[in-house]
Amino acid sequence: MSLTRTLMAELAARLTSRPAQGAVAPATLVAPPPERIFPRQEQRHSPFAEEAAKHTTALLGIGHVGTRYATDVVLQFQAELAVAHEAVGAVLAPDWASSHGLLPLYSRVKDHREFLLRPDLGRRLAPESLQRLRQEAKGGVDIQPILADGLSAVACMGSGMKLLEAFTAACEQRGWSVGTPMCAHFARVWLEDEIGEAVQARVAAILLGERPGLGTGDGLSAYLVYDPKVGRTDSDRNMMSNIHPRGTPPEQAGRRLAVLAGAMLEQRSSGVGLELSHLTAELGEAAGTGYRAPQARQRLVEVHA
C-alpha cells in the first residue's frame, strides 16, 4: 500500500472509532439576561434613550445581545413591520364606497398585484367608470374632492370620510361649488387629472392612503391640482402628507387644504409656481414641499397575564 493510502486508512479508522465531537461539561443553570426592553412612552430605561426620545423618533438606546437585538425589540419591530404590510395589502371592499354614499370609480387596474406593478394603469379610469362619472357626477364645479385607497386602504377606511367631510365643509363655507362625493379604487395620484377633466373641475383634490412607514399605515396624503387634465405632472401639484389622528388630524387638514385650494383659485395656478409664502401660518405643512412630521413611536406589543 502506498503511504497516502496507509494514511487514509488510518484516518478512516480513527474517524469511525469515536464521536466526532469531544464531550462537554455538564450544563449549569443559565441566569436570565438583564431586561432589555423597547421603551414604553412613560418609561425610558436609560438617560440616553430618554434624551434621544426628545429629539428623534429613531429607535435609539435599545441595547444589544451579542451584536443582535433583544427579544422585546424584535417583537416591536415585527409588529411595526406587520402593521405596514397589512396596510399595503388591504383592499377596499367593493361596496365600501356606496355604503358611505360615495360614487364608486375604478382605475384600469384589475387586482392588487397589478396595482403595485402598473402605476400607469392606476392613473387612468376604467372606461365604464369614465362613462358613469360623466352621467352621474355634477359638472363644472369649483372643487372636485376624490377619496381613494392609494397605497393604504386602511388609511382610506380609517380617516378618509372625516377628511373628505371636513374638506368639503370648508370649501362650501367659502361659497365654492363642490363636486359629487366619490371614491376611487386602485387609484394613483394622477387619476385626479382624468376625473377632474371629465367633470370640468377648476381644482381636483385626491385624498388617498400614503405609502406606509414602519409602524404607520393609517396616514393619508392630499394632492391638489389646478385645471386638472391628463398630462399634468408632479410639478403641477401641491400636496400635504401625514394626515391621521397622531399627525395632522383630518378636521384640521380639511381646513388647511381649503386654504390651499383657495390660493389655486385666486392665482389660477398650482404646483411649483404657486405663491404660498403669505399663507404659511394658515397652511402649516401644506406650505412646504413634502415635509413629513415625525410620528411618536408607540409600543405596539403588550402581553397580558
Partner: protein
C-alpha cells in the same frame, strides 16, 4: 452579427443589440413596465445565447442610446482606454464571462482591462451570470480609494452611517450618529439625507457632524446628500465638506430630470477638489438604482440593468470615493420582490466593481415591495461575502425620514463577525482605541453612545 437563435425548433429573432440585451435580462417588473422584457423564459435564454456569441467590439459599436443624442454615450465612447479595449475587444461575451471566472485571472488583470470596457459590456456579461457567478467575480475585483481613510481593501466591510431626521433636528441627527458609531458603523461616510434642500441647512448639518468628528478624532468622512448645486452653494458658505454627493442616471435625459449634466458634475468636481475638506484624492459620492431612467421616461427602450451600468460609466470619470445602488428603494413597479431585489443588488455590485468604481449597496425595501426582513438579511450576507465595499446603517434599519427599511447599526458588526471582516484600517484602530471593539469582538464601550459625549 447573428441576432437569432433556435431552441427546440423555434427560431427567436431579435431586431437590435438593444433588444437582445433587454430580453436577456432576468425577470424585472420594471422591464415589463417598460415593455422590453422577454415574453417567455425560453425567449430569454434564446436572447442570452445570441448575446453570448456577440463580441465586445459589437457591444461598443451598438450602445443602447445613440452617440448623437446622448452625452453619456459620448462620454463613454470618447474616453475609453483604447489599449485596454484592444486587449478584450475580440472576445465574445460568453468567452469574456469565462475569462472573468477563470482561477488564472487575477483582480489586477481585471483592473487593467476595466477602463476599456463600456457599460453595455458589463451589463451583457452580467446577464450571462448566476448570482454566485456575480459574487465570485465581484469578490475578485479590488477597487481601493482614499479620502480621510482608505476604503475597499481586501477583508474589509465598511458602512455608511445614515442618521436621517424628518425635520433635520441637528440634536436628533447627532444622537443617532453617536449610537451608530458605538456599533462600529460609519467608516465609509457619515451621510445625512436632508429633509430641507437648502445651502444653509446643508452647512449647518455638516458643521455639527464635523464638530463631533474633530472632537473624537474619528477617521471617516462626512457628507450631506442635498442636490449638487445646493452643496456647491454650501461650499461657498465656507462649511467643511469631505464628500460631494449626487444621484446619477444612465442617460442624458434621465440626468436632466435630476437637474444635472456632465458639465455640471465636471464643475462640481473641480470645485470640490479646490474647496473640499478631505485629504483626497477621491472626493465624490454617487448614488444610483435600477429603474431611475424609466421613472422619468428617459430609458430609450433599453432595459434597466444596462441603464444602471451606464451610471457607473458616468461615475468613473470622477474617480469617486463612494458609489452605491439604492437597490430596493424605487418600489415594486421596478423590482417586485425579494428575488428581484436580491438579484439586482448582486448585479449592480458586480457591474460597478467591473467598471472600476468602489461599489456599495443600500440593501433595502419599501413597505409595498414583496420582500421579507429575512430575505433582506440574506442579501446583506451575500453582498458582504461578495466583497461589497460598504452597506448602510440606521437604527433598526428604519429610515424615519424616507420611510424604508435598510441595514441596521446591529447588522454591521454581525456581518463582520460572521464573515471575518474588519472596517477600514484607520477606523479599526479608532474603534480599538475607544474600546468599542476589542480585536474582532465587541469591546466594553460597544453599543454605548455615552462614550462619545
Amino acid at each position: 452579427m447573428h441576432l437569432a437563435a433556435t431552441i427546440r425548433g423555434t427560431v427567436y429573432r431579435f431586431d437590435s443589440v438593444r433588444e437582445v440585451l433587454a430580453k436577456a435580462n432576468p425577470p424585472k417588473s420594471g422591464d415589463v413596465l417598460a415593455g422590453v422584457a422577454a415574453r417567455s423564459a425560453v425567449e430569454r435564454v434564446a436572447a442570452r445565447a445570441v448575446l453570448a456569441q456577440l463580441s465586445l467590439a459589437d457591444l461598443r459599436d451598438h450602445p443602447v442610446v445613440p452617440y448623437e443624442i446622448d452625452e453619456i454615450t459620448r462620454l463613454v465612447e470618447d474616453h475609453l482606454d483604447e489599449v485596454a479595449y484592444r486587449a478584450v475587444a475580440h472576445l465574445t461575451v460568453g468567452q469574456f464571462r469565462e475569462w472573468l471566472l477563470s482561477s488564472a485571472t487575477t483582480g489586477a488583470e481585471i483592473r487593467a482591462v476595466s477602463p476599456g470596457l463600456t457599460p453595455e459590456m458589463a451589463a451583457a456579461v452580467c446577464k450571462l451570470m448566476s448570482n454566485l457567478d456575480l459574487m465570485c467575480v465581484g469578490a475578485k475585483c479590488e477597487v481601493v480609494v482614499r479620502a480621510n481613510s482608505t476604503l475597499g481593501l481586501p477583508g474589509r466591510l465598511s458602512s455608511r452611517l445614515q442618521p436621517n431626521h424628518p425635520s433635520d433636528d441637528v440634536q436628533g441627527i447627532l444622537l443617532s450618529m453617536r449610537e451608530g458609531l458605538s456599533y462600529g458603523c460609519g467608516d465609509a461616510v457619515i451621510g445625512i439625507n436632508p429633509a430641507t434642500d437648502t445651502a444653509a441647512s446643508t452647512a449647518e448639518i455638516l458643521r455639527a457632524v464635523d464638530g463631533v468628528m474633530r472632537k473624537h478624532r474619528i477617521p471617516t468622512q462626512h457628507c450631506v446628500l442635498s442636490h449638487v448645486t445646493v452643496q456647491m452653494q454650501a461650499l461657498d458658505l465656507g462649511c467643511p465638506m469631505d464628500l460631494m454627493f449626487q444621484s446619477l442616471s444612465g442617460t442624458e435625459s434621465g440626468n436632466r430630470a435630476f437637474g444635472i449634466s456632465v458639465s455640471l458634475i465636471d464643475e462640481a468636481w473641480e470645485k470640490m477638489k479646490a474647496m473640499g475638506s478631505t485629504q483626497g484624492p477621491n472626493v465624490m459620492y454617487f448614488e444610483t438604482g435600477q429603474g431611475s431612467a424609466l421613472s422619468s421616461a428617459a430609458h430609450h427602450g433599453a432595459d434597466q440593468l444596462t441603464l444602471e451600468a451606464r451610471c457607473y460609466g458616468f461615475a468613473r470619470r470622477y474617480e469617486p470615493f463612494l458609489v452605491n445602488t439604492v437597490v430596493g428603494f424605487i418600489g415594486p413597479e421596478y423590482l417586485e420582490n425579494g428575488r428581484q431585489i436580491t438579484r439586482a443588488g448582486l448585479e449592480d455590485h458586480f457591474m460597478g466593481k467591473l467598471l472600476g468604481v468602489p461599489m456599495g449597496c443600500d440593501a433595502c425595501f419599501t413597505y409595498h415591495a414583496d420582500m421579507s426582513q429575512d430575505e433582506l438579511e440574506s442579501l446583506k450576507v451575500l453582498l458582504a461575502a461578495a466583497g461589497c465595499t460598504y452597506l448602510m446603517s440606521l437604527p433598526v434599519g428604519d429610515d424615519i425620514m424616507l420611510n424604508y427599511q435598510s441595514t441596521s447599526y446591529h447588522d454591521i458588526p454581525s456581518l463582520r463577525g460572521l464573515l471575518g471582516k474588519r472596517p477600514t484600517p484607520e477606523f479599526d484602530a479608532w474603534l480599538q482605541d475607544r474600546g468599542i471593539m476589542d480585536g474582532d469582538q465587541p469591546g466594553k464601550a460597544f453599543g454605548d453612545p455615552r462614550s462619545l459625549q
